[in-house]
């Protein structure tokens, strides 16, 4: 128990040190504390820290210091000390004596609204915790893949080389080839946390870090909604309604808790950084502040180093926001453009751009910035899953109730110039970009799975649905007050009807997503068998495991640490029947029909000698051959050795 308590302390202190402290000091150095309320700063410090730690670890990985506990700790301390010195110097030079805390603008929110926010946050965290009690044990495939790269960084002290080997046409294991699917920012801050806290990879640590990212996203949506509707007297009501629609309701379906337990790291961090950058750009444009614009650019860079799809989505929503702004403000657009150019050429902005270019060209170029990766994302949709969703599918992704309100809300937004011209353009642009990318990707030459893009729409849809709900209810209320021809009962009934519709829909969605049981029993047996095999393997041994029936199989490679594709894997059966792409068949033959001639050629070519399978399904074919020994037996895992 003492070990548990000390590991918990180490973990939480590390979370504060890695995910809050660097951001606090950057906000100090850039004096952003004068621009944002405490609540906004709280979320900004978190998002900023992810970006700072990412760049810091890349920098360390490129120097002889390497990525170690001491170098990461030292790097964070050095960064914070530099920021502190810069800020102190600025205050001294300008004779500023006002305490920093007094320079932070106060959040204008009533005590009653505050309590409502606290209650909604409680419900949000409570519902997600209930879901995670059966999903906290790490078994998810994607998370296993990501944690392999993180562990590789921790084990070697070097930045990972994203490469994998495949079985070639000659049935031998080929040379390592680059993988564009993994983005380094997905692994850097996890590596920093693992190094400093000493947390085990097969533990709650990865899911808890992702859950924290997600909960901060929920808060980010709340503060962004307040920012979007800052000119409305109902800004807090709209933000609280948005929190209701994104927090306790629809709390589990993708891209919320399901994405966390699934280990979709890039999307999760992208879902945090997109609203945060939007908050910053919104303020920068409204108040024409180059320093805020520079800060927004820095976070955008952090996004670019974390997730390609989110960056792609962000580029589109920025383009759509600009187009919407131009279309709604034709008279002022040229003057505005001049103002934007002036802001974008200020020293702070140019400095961030220079920093980004130096990083891309001299330190680390994100893996997706190669022609092959770009070609796979841009162009005519190449697969059925990329040709766009139907309206019905989009409705189901966005949540029926939210979607219903958002459709009318977006129409209303076109006529709501009073909310602010930038606010209006950003909100419409964000929603339109995602709607078109999801429904008609061919119009935009987007070649990315449509359901992945559609998952981003949940956030703007919630904000717009909240806006419409509040507009309807406040309009009804004012009519009752002023003209006295509507019965107050009508307002009450409308309120309860809307709330019932939204709540039952959102809670039903939650119920659909709840797990029945944890798969930890089977996964633990997989990990026990992996530990056994890891002790026995020599450099010549090649392992093949099954992805179809083994629980937690993507985590097996963390026990071996011999490469991303070690062990080889029999994938889902449909992969081997893919008519659009020729795929190697060896991994299927060697488990499904190990005594056939094709399998014999595959065994000879790949030198595979250990096979990990589910004994209930795949052991009989091995037992019929004198070539294989069964060397390990448990309820969920059998290991066969090819002796001849």
């Amino acid at each position: 128990m003492l070990d548990f308590i000390s590991s918990q302390f180490a973990f939480y202190l590390t979370l504060i040190l890695v995910l809050f402290v660097p951001g606090i000091f950057l906000i100090l150095a850039t004096r952003m504390y004068k621009e944002f309320s405490l609540l906004e700063l709280f979320v900004l410090t978190f998002g900023s820290s992810i970006a700072i730690v990412d760049f810091l670890v890349i920098f360390l990985g490129r120097t002889p210091l390497h990525i170690t506990r001491a170098s990461v700790l030292g790097g964070i301390v050095a960064f914070c000390a530099t920021c502190w010195a810069l800020e102190r110097n600025y205050r001294k030079k300008n004779s500023i004596t006002t305490p920093r805390a007094e320079q932070i603008p106060e959040t204008k929110i009533s005590r009653r609204s505050t309590l409502l926010v606290v209650l909604l946050l409680f419900l949000t965290i409570f519902i997600k915790t209930i879901y995670f009690k059966d999903a906290i044990f790490p078994t998810a495939t994607d998370l296993g893949h990501h944690m392999y790269w993180t562990k590789a960084m921790v084990a070697t002290g070097q930045l990972p080389k994203y490469e994998k080997v495949d079985i070639g046409a000659d049935l031998t294991i080929g040379k390592p080839q680059p993988i564009a699917d993994f983005i380094i920012g997905e692994h850097l801050f996890f590596a920093a946390i693992a190094l400093i806290s000493g947390a085990e990879f097969v533990s709650a640590f990865p899911v808890l870090v992702l859950l924290l990212v997600h909960l901060m996203t929920v808060l980010a949506i709340f503060i962004l909604t307040r920012s979007f509707f800052k000119n409305s007297k109902h800004r807090n009501t709209i933000a609280i309604t948005a929190l209701f629609l994104i927090g306790p309701l629809f709390a589990i379906a993708s891209p919320q808790a399901k994405f966390i337990s699934g280990g979709v790291i890039g999307n999760d961090v992208g879902n945090l950084l997109i609203p945060l950058t939007m908050l910053l750009y919104l303020k920068a444009f409204i108040e024409n502040k180059a320093s805020v614009f520079a800060y927004a650019l820095f976070l955008s860079l952090g996004l670019a180093y974390t997730h390609h799809l989110s960056t792609f989505v962000f580029i589109f929503l920025a383009l759509f926001s600009i187009i919407t702004y131009a279309a709604l403000n034709t008279k002022t657009i040229l003057d505005d453009l001049r103002g934007w150019i002036q802001m974008a050429t200020k020293p702070a902005v140019l400095a961030v751009l220079a920093f980004g270019m130096i990083f891309v060209f001299f330190f680390y170029m994100p893996t997706y910035l190669n022609t092959k990766a770009i070609n796979t994302a841009v162009g005519a949709p190449s697969k059925a899953t990329r040709t766009g969703l139907t309206l019905d599918q989009l409705k189901s992704t966005a949540g029926e109730a939210r979607y219903a309100f958002a459709i009318i809300g977006i129409l209303l937004l076109f006529f709501m110039k009073k909310i602010g011209k930038y606010n209006q353009a950003f909100l419409i642009g964000w929603t339109l970009a995602l709607t078109l990318m999801s429904l008609r990707p061919d119009w935009l030459f987007v070649d990315i799975p449509s359901n992945r893009i559609a998952s981003y729409i949940v956030y703007p849809v919630s904000i717009i649905a909240a806006f419409l709900l509040v507009v309807i209810l406040t309009e009804l209320k004012s009519k009752i007050k002023n003209k006295n021809y509507l019965n107050p009962i009508f307002l009450l009934v409308t309120f309860f009807l809307f709330m019932s519709f939204v709540s039952t829909n959102g809670l039903y969605d939650n119920a659909q997503g709840l797990n029945l049981t944890s798969s930890s029993n089977e996964a633990l047996q997989t990990y026990a068998a992996s530990g056994y095999l890891a002790d026995k393997l020599s450099s010549n041994d090649i392992v093949l495991k099954d992805h179809n029936y083994l629980a937690g199989d993507s985590w097996i490679k963390l026990f071996f640490m011999k490469g991303y594709n070690y062990p080889l894997s029999r994938g889902y059966f449909k992969r081997y029947e893919d008519t659009t792409k020729t795929r190697e068949q060896c991994t299927n033959f060697m488990i499904s029909a190990p005594n056939g001639t094709e399998a014999a050629q595959c065994f000879a070519g790949t030198h595979t000698d250990f096979l990990m399978i589910d004994p209930k399904i795949d052991s009989e074919q091995f037992k019929h051959s004198a070539k294989f020994w069964q060397v390990y037996s448990s309820d969920a895992v059998g290991i066969f050795y090819k002796a001849l």
Partner: protein, 124 residues
């Protein structure tokens, strides 16, 4: 209470809820990660790649008593009982002559009749 800003209340409450949730989930995960609560056991060869027949029983179940048999092809050549307590692993040495070209099977049965087999076919 009046001096505490509303932002601070939200941040403090949020941090408190997150902390409670994380501690709870860590405890749940700790329990789920304990293989000794899963009522499973396994048997394996100590040396999977050579002709050695020494095997181990790793027990994470409530059954402490196991019966093992060694079969050469289908002929019983040795058997015995062994007690392996929860969380323990016991290695059983096997020395057998005349194993050439025979399937040597180690069959282990727990007291609740759960049976597992491992085998080697030794050819030189």
């Amino acid at each position: 209470m009046k001096n505490i800003s509303n932002s601070k209340i939200i941040i403090t409450a949020f941090s408190f809820f997150v902390l409670i949730s994380f501690v709870f989930l860590s405890l749940v995960e700790k329990k789920q990660a304990d293989i000794n609560t899963k009522n499973v056991w396994m048997t394996y060869f100590k040396n999977p790649k050579d002709a050695s027949l020494d095997f181990a029983i790793e027990n994470h179940s409530k059954n402490n008593n196991f019966h093992w048999q060694i079969l050469s092809d289908k002929t019983l050549v040795n058997q015995g009982d062994v007690t392996v307590k929860l969380g323990e692993t016991k290695t059983l040495p096997v020395s057998l002559s005349d194993t050439q070209n025979k399937k040597i099977t180690i069959s282990v049965t727990s007291s609740d009749n759960n049976k597992k087999e491992i085998y080697k076919i030794i050819n030189n």
